[in-house]
């Protein structure tokens, strides 16, 4: 659980003032978030772990430059995204990314996977390693510009503005990319997961939120 905003602010001030040991406590709620945003970008566990460590060290060294106008979590994710991109660039994977940018113009319409026999997959299904792997593989298959938006919005639950800020893109683009990312994910996963869905026992009313 993240610290309260007040406690977090206090921790930041005290670390800057010299109580550097408190930095451990400050970043503890965000360990997963930083790792995950880099892992989904680099798709390599070992490199993601090393990069996550670098991110936290960088955050420590530059904590003074953190201004309270953004959330600390958004600031951290921004550093993480930059670290991930830098490493991708080094791996020359950036070529792929620019291709995706060009493609974006043309990718207007998506036809979702239409499966009227879709039943909800219960969350217990995640106890199966195979199920978890299928989900991760589908996320990995998304082009990077869509994947990063989906990860920040849906996995890390940043809001639109925070996501836009962390990625350095306008909110409108976050919305467009998120929609496409979700539809791609639906198309990839619905056919695979429907096989795991409990058998349908006839039509019944759905709950609309």
């Amino acid at each position: 659980m993240p610290a309260t905003p007040e406690r977090e602010k206090e921790l930041i001030a005290r670390v800057i003032a010299g109580e550097t040991d408190l930095f451990h406590e400050l970043i503890r709620p965000y360990e997963r978030m930083v790792y995950l945003s880099i892992l989904t970008m680099l798709r390599n566990e070992q490199e993601a772990e090393d990069a996550a460590q670098e991110v936290m060290i960088n955050a420590f060294r530059h904590l003074k430059s953190f201004r309270g106008d953004a959330k600390f979590s958004t600031w951290l994710v921004t550093i993480a995204m930059n670290e991930g991109r830098q490493r991708l660039r080094k791996a020359k994977a950036a070529q792929l990314e620019s291709l995706d940018e060009k493609k974006e113009e043309r990718e207007g319409d998506f036809t979702p996977a239409v499966l009227t026999d879709w039943r909800e997959i219960p969350s217990e299904a995640l106890e199966k390693k195979e199920m978890r792997q299928k989900l991760r593989e589908a996320v990995e298959q998304l082009p990077p510009i869509y994947r990063e938006v989906l990860v920040l919005r849906d996995l890390e639950e940043l809001n639109q503005e925070e996501t836009a800020s962390a990625l350095g893109i306008p909110v409108t683009l976050v919305k467009v990319r998120l929609h496409r990312a979700r539809m791609m994910l639906q198309k990839l996963l619905a056919p695979i997961l429907s096989a795991a869905a409990p058998a349908r026992k006839g039509f019944f009313g759905r709950m609309f939120q």
Binding site: G18, E19, T20, D21, F23, H24, I27, R28, E31, R32, Y35, L36, L39, E45, E49, A52, Q53, M56, I57, F60, R61, D109, F110, T111, P112, A113, V114, L115, T116, D117, W118, E120, I121, S123, A125, L126, E127, M131, R132, L135, R136, A138, V139, D154, L155, E157, K175, L178, H179, R182, M183, L185, Q186, L189, A190, L193, F203, R206, F208, Q209
Partner: protein
């Protein structure tokens, strides 16, 4: 206004995020009442996102946190601006 399925699909994401304007939301809800296909698409998308975001889907490597804090500790100790005593 009668919506076609294709029009509904364009708004799946905003629907899930509850960002639709009230008029469009009403039209979509009306469409959903009679459209098994679009209902299934919405349900499946929502469900897929819930499963993907579940903590169990992505697990941290064993020992990740320990290794992170150990390396961090080293960096903190080495930091020139550190005012901590090495006691």
């Amino acid at each position: 206004m009668t919506l076609e399925c294709k029009n509904v699909w364009e708004h799946v994401s905003e629907y899930l995020d509850k960002q639709l304007d009230p008029k469009l939301l009403m039209d979509i809800e009306k469409h959903l009442e009679n459209c098994e296909v679009c209902s299934a698409i919405l349900d499946s998308t929502r469900n897929i996102l819930i499963l993907t975001a579940d903590k169990r889907t992505y697990e941290l490597p064993v020992g990740y946190s320990e290794r992170l804090h150990a390396r961090l500790e080293k960096a903190i100790r080495e930091a020139p601006e550190s005012k901590n005593d090495f006691t």
